[in-house]
């Protein structure tokens, strides 16, 4: 070493960093939220609002209760669709884009573990999906509540108008309207959509760790989602086929394990139609969602941990 270099005052070693830090996960998550918000992804809420308002103003020759039921079905069906589609598209855009833009180089050259990066990205997407669902729920509630109030007011007016209907008949009609109106149980339907979106987001994260492009990730994730809806039917049919050779049987079993059963997350339909909510079922679904997320994050880590950039 030359004297000149030896004389230079050197810098002190860096402070020790934690091996795993939730703060780093949170930093990546908040950055992901900012990224998605500034990509103007929330504009899809406008499209959703248009769908719901259109459904609310679509007059079909039916009873008020049936009309409310139709509004709920359309609104919550759209909410579900927007949630899982948004979860897939936004997740698929994140990791491949970071890789293409080489932003990943600068992030992973800082003291950040790859699992922290994946977890941060997933949390960021889930925060945005959660906020979007809440916003969509608020829009739905507003439309349903305004229609419900309108129908109830109409029924009340009937009593005062000509006395054609007795108070008891009107009360029964109002009870029917209330049953199909805005009820707190509908919150569980929103939660079911969130569970479904969370599972498909973790599947998409896994696919994007080995996919070469966002487009491939989106298409594959949508396919997994659709197959996941025919899970039980397909599994029963194919796995009971005795003519399949051992290799096909094993492959099918692997698919059965790897592809989440999205059918079981469709319990929101019953809630929307006014069925009672079983708390144990919601808890079970919550636990299953966490289980799927853990499994797919683990698989993502297996493919991502040794990935070379």
């Amino acid at each position: 070493m030359s004297e000149e270099i030896a004389e230079r005052k050197l810098r002190a070693p860096a402070k020790a960093v934690k091996s795993f830090s939730l703060l780093r996960v949170w930093t990546i998550a908040t950055s992901t939220v900012t990224q998605l918000v500034r990509m103007k992804t929330f504009y899809f809420l406008l499209a959703f609002a248009v769908v719901v308002i259109a459904a609310g103003n679509f007059n079909i020759p039916s009873t008020p209760a049936k009309e409310l039921s139709m509004i709920k079905k359309v609104s919550f069906g759209s909410m579900d669709l927007f949630a899982w589609l948004f979860a897939i598209v936004s997740t698929a855009l994140l990791i491949p884009r970071d890789l293409e833009d080489r932003t990943l180089y600068t992030i992973l050259s800082k003291p950040v573990r790859r699992i922290e990066y994946l977890l941060g990205k997933l949390c960021g997407v889930l925060v945005v999906v959660g906020v979007s669902l809440l916003a969509m729920w608020a829009i739905c509630s507003l439309v349903i509540f305004s229609r419900e109030s309108l129908y109830v007011a109409d029924e009340m007016a009937l009593i005062q108008e000509d006395g054609r209907y007795g108070a008891e008949e009107v009360e029964a009609q109002i009870a029917l309207i209330r049953e199909q109106g805005l009820r707190p149980e509908l919150g569980f339907a929103v939660l079911a959509s969130f569970f479904k979106a969370a599972v498909i987001a973790s599947v998409t994260i896994f696919i994007s760790t080995f996919a070469s492009s966002s487009l491939f990730t989106i298409i594959t994730s949508v396919l997994v989602f659709l197959i996941g809806h025919a899970h039980s039917m397909a599994a029963n049919f194919w796995l009971q086929e005795t003519e399949n050779n051992l290799f096909v049987q094993l492959l099918l079993k692997l698919f059965k394990i790897l592809i989440p059963n999205f059918q079981i997350f469709s319990f929101s339909e019953g809630i929307v139609q006014g069925e009672a909510v079983v708390a144990a079922l919601v808890g079970q679904m919550g636990a299953l969602t966490v289980g799927y997320i853990v499994v797919f994050l683990f698989l993502s880590l297996l493919t991502f941990v040794d990935k070379e950039f």
Partner: protein, 288 residues
């Protein structure tokens, strides 16, 4: 003797090409050390293995054989990465973030919080001359500005080692000069700088030691003086010398057996220096 900032021992990196059995040796049994406090330049043409070597040191790639250490720590270890600030070639940051948000993001990843992070961000923005553009989104930054915010990002956690991959690639001469001045400032502030470049003049101006890599192998290594001086030749630059004096020198040289004048003429500036002088002169004229 202090622990080397970077220690690469018998590093070999092999890439498979597609699904075939063919492979490419990007780095072939490479060994070198970067001492703490020095500015070391790894130079070589495109595809010579410079960036691959850097990525192994950063832990973004695994070595096929051999090892790389940073201040005695295994490369890729989280503590080793905390000692490194890295500026990739053509850095792309999140374009939706502003300059100040970018520095805060990277600072938080390194565990900085509160006033410490705020002060460090302000200090670095001043250092790279981007205070006025701090709140502007990176999408509106020029190439030189991106490179400077990139350099600020490398220093956010006060690392001991700064790794720069082609730091002036695509930057105009004025921006390039600013970056070189920053590298010299880093050296004076006690940072160890390890840079890769194929721009030889740039390396010559800032590096204490240089390694020349070609086809994945180290071809020459040493201090700049060792590498570029020609031992049996001496240059003499005179200012205001009269023709008579030049004549006397010619006579004196001719009288000395075995000595010849190889080259003679007016000293020349480089095109780059000329460009910078003109640009600076124009800026001064505009300011006045």
């Amino acid at each position: 003797m202090s622990v080397p900032a970077v220690e690469v021992k018998n590093l070999t990196k092999v890439f498979r090409t597609g699904f075939s059995k063919d492979y490419v040796v990007a780095v072939d049994n490479l060994s070198f050390e970067v001492e703490a406090g020095e500015v070391y330049g790894l130079i070589g043409p495109n595809g010579s293995g410079k960036s691959t070597t850097m990525k192994v040191v950063l832990g973004l790639m695994a070595a096929s054989k051999g090892e790389a250490k940073v201040f005695g720590l295994e490369s890729g270890a989280i503590q080793a990465r905390n000692e490194i600030g890295f500026l990739p070639e053509n850095p792309y940051f999140y374009k939706h973030l502003s300059g100040v948000e970018t520095l805060r993001f990277y600072g938080k990843l390194c565990g900085l919080r509160g006033s410490e992070l705020k002060d460090r961000t302000v200090e670095l923005l001043q250092m790279v001359g981007l205070e006025e553009a701090a709140k502007r989104r990176l999408a509106g930054y020029s190439k030189g500005m991106l490179q400077r915010i990139g350099l600020a990002q490398t220093l956010i956690q006060n690392p001991r080692l700064v790794i720069l991959d082609e730091p002036t690639a695509g930057v105009d001469p004025v921006g390039s000069r600013q970056i070189r001045d920053l590298i010299l400032k880093l050296r004076d502030d006690g940072y160890t700088v390890f840079l890769c470049s194929h721009l030889l003049e740039q390396v010559q101006e800032v590096c204490d030691r240089v390694g020349i890599i070609f086809k994945g192998r180290m071809r020459r290594e040493g201090t700049l003086n060792d590498l570029i001086s020609i031992e049996d030749q001496t240059s003499l630059t005179l200012e205001g010398a009269s023709p008579e004096l030049l004549g006397k020198i010619h006579e004196l040289v001719a009288s000395e057996k075995g000595t010849t004048i190889i080259d003679e003429g007016n000293s020349r500036t480089t095109l780059e220096r000329l460009f910078i002088n003109i640009a600076e002169q124009k800026t001064e004229d505009t300011d006045q």
